[in-house]
């Protein structure tokens, strides 16, 4: 017996307890559920495969030609493929209808749905902590979970909402119900609802098939069993329920009394201390996780395209400042010069440009960010073995190389790689590869200056 008394909250296990629990199996899924799951998975796979080939509108069609060719050679014709798609879909609806009607008392009871789908307070807490942990903002333990965790519940809610929509629109399309307008709308809604489910399915399949921590969940869909250690660590509230019931039966066996109806699990006392609040992320001294900062940068870039019709940049702004200086000393030279005249015509300021003001904004934005996080300091960034003067010389030399390279490429890491990449410019991707290639190659030569 790993526990004398059942713990109300997850406690640290000793190695011995964990060992015993890892050996024991708990039953999680009924065989009917397992069969239904794999039937459902097969139907989804086939319906998605044929559905992708059935999208007729060139606007939405995403399947490549070779894929359509394979499908046509399998089914003979598009009409056959449509028949297959519809008959499989109808079979699917019938099976679920039977399941719904005959399994109503077992699987669709309010109490079961509440336990397996509805999100309670612990679930919301779990979601919040999960998210913060992914962002490395907290090390708080996850809230204990029932038979399904909050992520699985969210997926289930989505599925329960979307499946009737998919079924109804599918039937309308297949049998041309309610007139042409309804059919047309059904096409769009069908497509969108499937898209929503697929976005969840990607996570679902990844969690089941790839994510190592969830391996027992995947195998439980084959054997129906999970080991007790997994249940304890990942579905504590469910584990406790199962254990309490087990003890109830044991006691009944020993005393010869019929077991009392399963008592509701005692509510664990509310967390004694409120969860520690993460320090405001704007004043945090740490850099933001790269994905968060990257998403912010991406949204800024998107906004720039929407407002300005071009991306962010830097070296173009430098060029315009330089041309403005040249033109103020030697306007004739600048206007006549084959390169500078791209940026300067007499009577026109080279400074009236997005990039010129954007760079001022960038300096202010950087300053504010550094100020909020306490990073404002006059300092020099350098490797441990070089003097400040060496670092200045390298920075100047690197700057010269960068200036020449950026003008030759017609943009820098921001103006070409980032902005060009977002609009899928072929040159931008070639440029990006060259930058990384030279960077990695140069890193070896420069190692004594940085490491």
């Amino acid at each position: 017996m790993p526990f004398e008394t059942l713990p109300l909250e997850p406690v640290e296990l000793t190695a011995e307890q964990a060992e015993v629990m890892a050996q024991r199996q708990l039953k999680k899924h009924h065989v009917a559920i397992i069969l239904l799951h794999w039937f459902n998975a097969t139907v989804w796979l086939l319906e998605l495969a044929t559905g992708a080939g059935l999208i007729a509108s060139s606007y939405f069609r995403f399947a490549p030609d070779w894929y359509l060719e394979i499908l046509t050679s399998i089914f003979g014709s598009r009409a056959n493929m449509l028949r297959f798609h519809i008959s499989l879909g109808v079979t699917w609806i019938v099976v679920f209808a039977v399941y719904g009607i005959f399994g109503f008392r077992t699987y669709l009871e309010m109490e079961v749905l509440q336990r397996e789908i509805a999100l309670d307070r612990d679930d919301w807490r779990w979601l919040r902590i999960r998210l913060l942990r992914m962002l490395k903002r907290t090390a708080e333990a996850l809230a204990p979970q029932g038979i399904y965790n909050a992520g699985q519940k969210l997926f289930a809610v989505m599925i329960y909402c979307m499946i009737p929509v998919i079924m109804a629109t599918g039937v309308i399309m297949a049998f041309h119900l309610f007139g042409m307008a309804a059919v047309r709308w059904s096409i769009v809604v069908h497509f969108l609802a499937v898209g929503v489910v697929v976005s969840g399915l990607i996570v679902h399949v990844y969690m089941g098939a790839v994510f190592p921590e969830e391996k027992p969940a995947f195998f439980s869909m084959i054997t129906g069993m999970v080991n007790e250690l997994y249940a304890y660590r990942h579905h504590f509230k469910w584990w406790k329920e199962v254990k309490m019931q087990e003890r109830e039966w044991e006691r009944a066996f020993e005393t010869g009394q019929p077991p009392a109806p399963a008592a509701p699990a005692a509510e664990p006392p509310l967390a004694v201390q409120p969860p520690a609040r993460a320090a405001s992320i704007f004043r945090s001294r740490d850099y933001w996780p790269p994905y968060v900062a990257g998403a912010g940068l991406g949204l800024t870039l998107l906004a720039t395209f929407i407002v300005m019709g071009q991306g962010l940049g830097a070296s173009g702004g430098f060029t315009r400042y330089l041309v403005a200086v040249i033109a103020s000393f030697a306007p004739g030279y600048a206007a006549a010069h084959p390169y500078w005249s791209n940026y300067y015509q007499p009577g026109q300021s080279p400074l009236l440009d997005f990039l010129v003001f954007e760079l001022i904004g960038a300096a202010i934005g950087g300053f504010v960010s550094g100020w909020l996080s306490g990073r404002l300091r006059v300092s020099v960034d350098k490797g441990p073995r070089i003097s400040n003067r060496t670092r200045y010389a390298l920075a100047l030399g690197g700057g010269i190389l960068t200036g020449i390279g950026a003008r030759l490429a017609r943009g820098c890491t921001s103006g070409l790689a980032l902005s060009g990449g977002a609009v899928l410019s072929a040159g931008a991707f070639a440029f990006m590869m060259a930058v990384f290639a030279a960077g990695f190659a140069g890193a070896y030569l420069m190692r004594r200056y940085w490491l």
Binding site: G294, R377, V380, D381, G399, A438
Partner: protein, 206 residues
């Protein structure tokens, strides 16, 4: 009204919008840690993959957003500037910029942000950029031929591959996710590698 909007802006509105967009540009660059030459160059020593992660995240977010807005017809792609492809100058330029990056520790945008929080080396780097651009511009008439070689117009990947734009977007997203996965996997083992890599200096042989 379809985006982009800048053509209908008055000059003060245009300047204001530019400053605001630039503000967020600089803010997020600084937040990502790109105001530090050490953090930036650590990318090339496999110690910190932030440069790759931030760049690809930003590209993916903006690319997906642009693709959706273009499909919905809210963003008029004919009004959006797509950088023209000049294959050879862009590859050579990329090599030079990459070399400048690892020698100088910054790129143009990040040097501005670094200078704004007080990095003196970034000021030298910015001065270098001005010198480099001046050398390039003044000397450009001598190598115009090379500078305009490999011109392919505003070529995009969907045009080049002759694929549907949506497929290319999906492919770039998948490649980015793959790169993130590799980066997350590499950061651990490569740290060990980088430690030994750095050790070859201790002997003073190289």
């Amino acid at each position: 009204m379809t985006a982009p909007f800048a053509a209908s802006f008055s000059i003060p509105a245009f300047i204001f919008a530019s400053l605001v967009l630039g503000f967020f540009f600089g803010f997020f660059l600084e937040r990502a840690g790109f105001s530090s030459a050490l953090k930036l160059t650590n990318q090339f020593y496999f110690r910190d993959f932030a440069v790759l992660k931030v760049m690809f995240t930003a590209i993916v977010v903006a690319m997906v957003g642009i693709a959706y807005l273009a499909i919905l017809g809210w963003l008029d792609m004919s009004q959006v500037f797509v950088p023209p492809a000049f294959l050879w100058p862009q590859i050579v330029g990329g090599l030079l910029l990459g070399a400048g990056f690892i020698v100088g520790g910054y790129c143009p945008g990040t040097s501005v942000v670094a200078a704004s929080i007080g990095k003196l080396d970034a000021l030298f780097f910015m001065a270098g950029i001005f010198i480099g651009i001046f050398l390039f511009g003044a000397g450009e008439p001598a190598f115009t031929r090379f500078n305009s070689s490999g011109s392919l117009g505003a070529l995009t990947l969907p045009m080049w591959l002759d694929w549907n734009t949506g497929i290319v977007v999906l492919a770039v997203v998948l490649i980015a996710l793959g790169a993130f996965w590799v980066a997350e996997k590499c950061e651990g083992p490569w740290k060990t590698f980088a430690r030994t890599y750095g050790k070859s200096l201790e002997g003073g042989k190289n």
